[in-house]
């Protein structure tokens, strides 16, 4: 089976001694949308930079579309698109010129260049802004323009660091729709997003990285089931008596079916249920009996975010 991306024991130690990647191994199938998730400084950008052939690994191997990232960088560069986190277009070029230069650099013929730019500007609702400079665009428009630029040469793999960072709901919707369309056309998409809503809406699989090590790989729903199979009751309290916090935690935790009890803030209590949630009223009763007022409460299912927190907590690197 041909993989879009393969890495084997990939390590990167920067000159300042920081070990950003500690032997990362994973595979991404063709035509997959995958998210590479991890806290800040986990090694996401370093991995993308290596896969995009911008920096070289210290050891280990990585292949993009079967090409070695060190030995066959040119082959890879013509087949990938990259959108970095900073949303940088050339400052003194207008949107149209930004796309034009990069289309030219990719070797696209002039007539095709013009046609392709027009299509992309229309797809991303930027046609009316084509003569505007980067600094006069809104964050969302600049982000969309940068994404359009990354797609100018119809790449086979798209690397995107935080695709919808700073985008309003309309911008997010356009981008997500476009990414889904790209996948239908056979493009593999490698996201580095920490936005759970986005991951659950788009991704086939997620790869969790923390402190340069892969902690988990899998389908979002499977990961939630594995690490956060609980239902959560969120309770907002008032008239908090700090000395009772521990008492509440102990009393509730002792009940059967409770995974854990957490005070997210002095006024926000989260009860994680392992199984059913029939005991919710009983929990509320315990709290009321301690003379604490309940402002509001809601029941929700665990999300990828809860699973993510759990994975990080269980990891040996958790401090």
């Amino acid at each position: 089976m041909k993989y879009a991306i393969e890495t084997f024991k990939l390590r990167k130690i920067y000159r300042n001694g920081v070990e950003a990647l500690k032997g990362v191994t994973f595979k991404v199938k063709m035509n997959e949308i995958i998210d590479y998730i991890g806290p800040n400084g986990a090694g996401k950008t370093t991995t993308i930079n290596i896969l995009a052939t911008i920096i070289k690994p210290t050891s280990g191997n990585a292949y993009v579309l079967g090409f070695d990232v060190v030995k066959e960088a040119d082959e890879i560069r013509s087949r990938i698109g990259l959108l970095v986190q900073e949303t940088i277009l050339d400052y003194f070029l207008i949107v149209y010129e930004n796309l034009y230069v990069y289309a030219w650099l990719q070797g696209i013929e002039k007539s095709e260049r013009i046609k392709r730019i027009k299509e992309l500007l229309k797809d991303f609702d930027l046609y009316d802004k084509r003569n505007r400079r980067w600094n006069t665009l809104s964050t969302g428009e600049a982000r969309r323009a940068a994404l359009a630029r990354a797609l100018i040469h119809e790449p086979e793999i798209l690397f995107i660091d935080e695709p919808t960072l700073g985008l309003d709901p309309y911008g997010k919707s356009i981008t997500w729709d476009y990414l889904k369309e790209l996948r239908k056309k056979g493009v593999t998409i490698f996201l580095a997003s920490n936005q759970m809503e986005e991951i659950q809406a788009l991704c086939d699989r997620v790869i969790f990285i923390h402190k340069g090590e892969i902690l988990e790989v899998g389908h979002p729903e499977e990961i939630i089931k594995k690490y956060a199979p609980h239902t959560i009751v969120e309770i907002n309290l008032s008239d908090i008596k700090p000395y009772l916090v521990e008492t509440i935690s102990k009393k509730i935790s002792s009940h059967e079916g409770i995974e854990r009890v957490e005070f997210k803030s002095p006024e926000k209590l989260e009860i994680h249920f392992n199984e059913n949630i029939l005991d919710v009223l009983e929990m509320l009763d315990i709290i009321s009996k301690l003379n604490m007022k309940i402002k509001s409460s809601r029941i929700r299912h665990a999300t990828l975010n809860d699973a993510f927190i759990e994975i990080v907590k269980r990891s040996k690197n958790y401090e």
């Binding site: 052939t53 040119d74 560069r77 940088i88 400052y91 070029l93 207008i94 030219w104 650099l105």
Partner: protein, 255 residues
């Protein structure tokens, strides 16, 4: 070379879109010539150069052209530094741009700017002073080559520093520390032969001196052994700085 053309287009478009920069680049040297050179000339008259009395405006003209080429260092330092920091270089690199393409484009556009500035300065000087240039094809070749070599030298230095230093404050500090001593210890504004010894020594390790001397001798028709010496020194400095630039940019992470 098919990557250099779009990069040159990119550099030129950026410049044309940045109207204030364009205006400043084209007008500043002319204004300098008109006000500073004529002001000084009216006070001190002619200046003696290689035994020939020369109008100060005509004497300063090559110096001003040499300083325009020095300005390429400031321009390329700022441009590379600001393109590296936020990730523009990353995007360029995965667009199949090699560092050599990037360096060639920066130097080519830099040299083009200096040539246009030189043309404007020479035309203004000729119009206003009525100074008559009788220049041979060899002198023209010498003039153009020295301008190109000087552009290579200064752009290379700017690109080298810009690829290492991305901090704006440090960049400004370096420019202040290097800039004024370089300009005023060269033969751009005065005849170095009559300067104090320590200024002469500084002037001898200063590329602006060699650029000024070569251009001055070409324009004034005073080409001799010393001109050849200046030309060779400029050539060596250009090659050295270009080699350093290529090596530094290759080694810098994320470039």
């Amino acid at each position: 070379m098919n990557r250099v053309a779009p990069l040159i287009y990119r550099e030129i478009k950026q410049m044309v879109n940045f109207k204030i920069f364009l205006l400043n680049t084209l007008l500043s040297p002319v204004v300098y010539l008109l006000f500073f050179a004529f002001g000084i000339a009216s006070n001190f008259g002619n200046i003696n150069y290689k035994g020939v009395p020369i109008n100060y405006v005509v004497f300063l003209l090559p110096g001003l052209i040499a300083i325009q080429s020095y300005n390429l260092y400031i321009l390329s330092f700022a441009s590379v530094s600001t393109e590296k920091r936020p990730g523009v270089l990353k995007i360029l690199l995965i667009s199949k741009v090699k560092l050599k393409h990037y360096i060639i484009a920066k130097i080519s556009v830099g040299a083009l700017i200096v040539l246009i500035q030189a043309l404007l300065l020479i035309s203004t000087c000729l119009l206003i002073t009525g100074f008559c240039i009788s220049i041979s094809s060899l002198q023209i070749a010498l003039l153009l080559t020295s301008l190109i070599m000087s552009s290579i030298a200064w752009c290379s230095l700017g690109i080298s520093l810009g690829s290492i230093i991305t901090d704006d404050e440090l960049r400004n500090l370096i420019n202040v520390i290097i800039g004024l001593p370089l300009m005023f210890s060269s033969s751009a504004f005065y005849n170095l032969e009559r300067a104090p010894l320590w200024v002469k020594i500084l002037g001898m390790i200063n590329p602006i001196t060699y650029t000024s001397n070569t251009i001055r001798d070409s324009l004034l028709g005073l080409v001799d052994r010393l001109t050849l010496h200046s030309f060779i020194m400029l050539l060596l400095i250009s090659i050295t700085l270009l080699v350093i630039c290529i090596n530094i940019t290759k080694r810098v992470e994320l470039l």
